[in-house]
């Protein structure tokens, strides 16, 4: 089984979550590639059983512009059976808390086997680390269901 985490981050919070998720996946014996969005190749999506996508939210809850290519790839490549999760960091004071996660979620639900979403306020705190564990458990659980 192989997993990938594709992410983007400006101030480092989403990077931290992505790294935490990677550690948790490796702990569960799943080889996991950590891919910053500028190293992303659409054709490689098929190599993975599990893909987690992570991003911050700016600008009225929109998806960061650099994630457009990833978004398009999920729409056009056939990934119906890939188990996916989407996570992000945001600030609940804004009108659309982690709005980018919501937008990505709606698309992934249609084009992939979406298992789980995760929103974290800024840099993760203690309770968020538990959620990162759950996020991984949920992804793995879904792959077992398929097998």
């Amino acid at each position: 089984m192989k997993a990938a985490i594709i992410y983007t981050s400006v101030t480092g919070n989403t990077t931290f979550i992505a790294e935490t998720i990677q550690e948790n996946m490796e702990k569960r014996n799943v080889a996991t590639d950590l891919i910053p969005v500028d190293e992303f190749h659409p054709e490689r999506l098929h190599e993975y059983d599990i893909i987690a996508v992570g991003m911050y939210t700016w600008a009225n809850g929109e998806i960061p512009i650099e994630m457009e290519e990833v978004y398009d790839a999920f729409e056009t490549e056939d990934l119906k059976h890939t188990v996916t999760g989407v996570f992000g960091s945001g600030d609940s004071f804004f009108a659309h808390y982690c709005g980018a996660v919501d937008l990505f979620r709606d698309m992934l639900y249609v084009h992939t086997n979406l298992a789980v979403t995760l929103k974290i306020e800024l840099m993760p705190q203690e309770p968020d680390l538990v959620k990162c564990e759950k996020f991984c458990d949920r992804l793995l659980q879904e792959t077992l269901v398929i097998q």
């Binding site: 600030d91 004071f93 804004f94 009108a95 698309m107 949920r138």
Partner: protein, 350 residues
């Protein structure tokens, strides 16, 4: 004398022999020309655009509904409404000149441009308080209220700390004082506004004075983004100038923000004590939760234990629908065609 206490020189407008892309946010070599395609921190261009996309002005908001409702407020509500309004106005009055003053010493032109936008937005906030006042009370009473704000001992005590730091930088613009100014600016924009915000959003929860709270909502959105920018500015300042990145300065941050928290609690005890719908105990917890967020924005640890959860989630920016926003999207996103899904569709939301 260590370099952090050496005055920054006011920079020349143009230094043609230096590169356009600055070698530092302070004391850097920079031509003074700004080409947004060649900047040291490219994410600053996105931030600049995000700030510009916020553009709004007070006159866009029609105050008629609030004017009609004003007389139905209780005397206590009216009094606190006016006190909060003038107190917030006096805070914003400090920000406009300070942000443009800092520009003179920042060597990176992209940061300068963002300080200019922030300064402009603070000017709009300032005007919007005047606009609200002019809709509700005559000039004589407005002036009385401003005098009241100037003399209020709690307001004075709060503002003095900020003023001292801003003034110190004015007198002697060193890197150390610029760092301190940044932290005080975060206190002003990121802590001191919130008892006031709570008051207006609480009225809004009761469907009262919604036009004013719409304006407050615009202001909060701007202020939050300013606080993010200043936090990034401070982090970059400390990273680029390791001699500023000392245990002492980290302690300065914890102390200064904690002090602002105590002062905000004190102000709330006075301003919110008779306001129905706001529990003071809960608000104190809220201020600590808020400050923890500021620490995390600065890359530090939470300071207040057991304050991970927001006890007053209704203090937040209105959604676009509520603000009736029609502005086009800056990022030219394609229209999204998917239906909103939730955990009832068979996945988990954590």
């Amino acid at each position: 004398m260590s370099t952090i206490n050496q005055p920054l020189t006011k920079i020349k407008l143009l230094n043609p022999t230096y590169p356009n892309k600055s070698t530092g946010i302070i004391n850097g070599e920079s031509s003074g020309l700004l080409n947004w395609n060649d900047i040291a921190y490219p994410q600053m261009y996105d931030l600049y655009q995000t700030l510009l996309a916020n553009f709004w002005k007070a006159q866009e908001i029609n105050m008629q509904d609030d004017i009609k409702q004003w007389d139905s407020l209780t005397d206590v509500e009216k009094d606190i409404f006016l006190r909060v309004n003038t107190q917030l106005a006096s805070l914003d009055s400090l920000q406009t000149p300070t942000m443009s003053h800092v520009m003179d010493y920042v060597t990176d032109s992209s940061f300068k441009a963002i300080f200019a936008v922030i300064s402009q937005q603070e000017a709009v906030h300032n005007e919007s308080y005047s606009y609200v006042l002019s809709s509700l009370i005559p000039l004589r009473e407005q002036n009385e209220r401003f005098n009241q704000a100037k003399e209020d001992p709690i307001v004075k005590k709060r503002n003095e700390i900020i003023l001292e730091s801003y003034e110190a930088f004015r007198q002697d613009p060193t890197p150390q004082r610029l760092f301190e100014l940044g932290i005080n600016s975060i206190n002003l924009e990121g802590i001191y506004f919130y008892a006031g915000f709570a008051f207006f959003y609480n009225l809004a929860r009761q469907q009262k004075m919604l036009k004013t709270s719409t304006m407050i909502s615009y202001i909060q959105r701007d202020e939050m983004q300013h606080a993010y920018f200043i936090a990034q500015f401070v982090r970059i300042l400390l990273t680029e100038n390791p001699e500023l990145n000392t245990e002492e300065n980290i302690q300065y941050i914890y102390k200064a923000i904690d002090h602002a928290v105590q002062l905000e609690k004190e102000w709330s005890n006075f301003i919110l004590k008779d306001i129905e719908g706001i529990n003071l105990e809960e608000f104190h917890g809220y201020v600590e939760y808020l400050a923890n967020k500021r620490f995390r924005q600065l890359g530090l640890e939470n300071y207040y234990p057991n304050r991970e959860e927001n006890p007053m989630p209704w203090i937040h920016v209105f959604s676009d629908e509520m603000m009736n926003e029609t502005k086009s999207d800056f990022f030219e996103q394609k229209s999204r065609t998917y239906t909103k899904v939730s955990s009832s569709n068979g996945f988990d939301e954590l």
